[in-house]
Symmetry: C2
Subunit: 202 residues, 2 copies
């Protein structure tokens, strides 16, 4: 047993898509326990940069590169990919479902399913019926899960995740965090896993 690796992701983020498809297999291969941590980037971008859109839309030169880079990365890592017609998509409901599913055996499949819907199937991840279908596909009864997702307690959980992300010094997505040590970007997954393997258990 090593220190756990927290994977902090945002369903609207292209690089989170790449990371989400890599992280479970790479953690398992290394024997590092994985904790999924959904959060919202929107409030962080607004607080830190005063913007109400993705930085990739705000700076179109950076945006143009990002689309090409993600396409190459998906080809390299065997991650499904088709550029969506809407970017970024509203990720609030999907993130609430991921919070509600903490520790559930279907959580990893659900997370990858939402990313696949957004970034390979060009579907609206804020649509409850789409999310319900996804859950049904894993043999999960969607009604109670979607009902739990929008409870006051669960909404507060997502807000708390986003506040904790800010407190950790997060400014983008995805991130790996090991005992407070922050690694930004799917580029740093290998370094983060090495850090977890070297970290002394508390």
């Amino acid at each position: 047993m090593t220190a756990p690796l927290e994977f902090w992701f945002e369903f609207g983020s292209t690089y989170s898509h790449v990371g989400a498809f890599r992280i479970e297999a790479e953690c398992r291969a290394a024997g590092v326990p994985l904790v999924w941590r959904p959060f919202l980037l929107g409030p962080i971008f607004t607080a830190q940069q005063g913007i109400k859109d993705s930085p990739f839309n705000v700076n179109p030169v950076r945006g143009r590169y990002m689309w090409r880079d993600v396409e190459r990365l998906c080809a390299k890592h065997g991650v499904p990919w088709r550029r969506p017609t809407v970017f970024p998509r509203n990720s609030v409901l999907a993130s609430r479902v991921a919070c509600a599913g903490e520790g559930a055996p279907w959580l990893g499949d659900f997370i990858r399913g939402v990313f696949r819907a957004n970034f390979a199937e060009d579907r609206d991840i804020s649509d409850p019926s789409m999310l319900a279908k996804l859950l049904k596909g894993f043999g999960v009864d969607p009604e109670p899960v979607l009902a739990q997702a929008v409870t006051v307690e669960n909404k507060a959980r997502l807000r708390a995740n986003t506040e904790q992300a800010e407190a950790l010094g997060i400014f983008g997505a995805p991130n790996c965090v090991i005992q407070g040590e922050l690694f930004f970007g799917q580029d740093r997954i290998t370094d983060a896993i090495a850090w977890a393997l070297a970290a002394p258990l508390a």
Copy 2:
């Protein structure tokens, strides 16, 4: 012989420091010819983002992470590192010298020497006497090189590099470019070398 890899860098950039210490050895090991391409990020940041400072200073949360990340990367890749007291430093003269030294046998050593001065020895890389000393250390007579660096023709060369960087879709540093294909960040050096090895020669 494979397609050449152009390494587009800025002497004031911390991630260019990491990349500059990696790129020559990694290209040589792969048999990929390397072309050093100095340019200035300042005009690009101003044109694209309307800022007159490093984005890492403009967004201090991102800046705080960058300093930690670069420290870790330098330890990982065996790159000399000490956080400078001034950031970013004025890189115009050093970049002009690098333009003047195009194809010279001392160019790689000079480039790493300037990065080392800035990011490991906390020295002022805009000081002509510092640059002269550096050149002398490689057995190069500094007077004619520094004189050539500030000629109208050579100043225009650096401006042309910066304009070409913009035309390539560059928005940060460092970058690897192979036949117009852009790879941003020292994180992408391995991918860029693989791209060069796979690229058909024109």
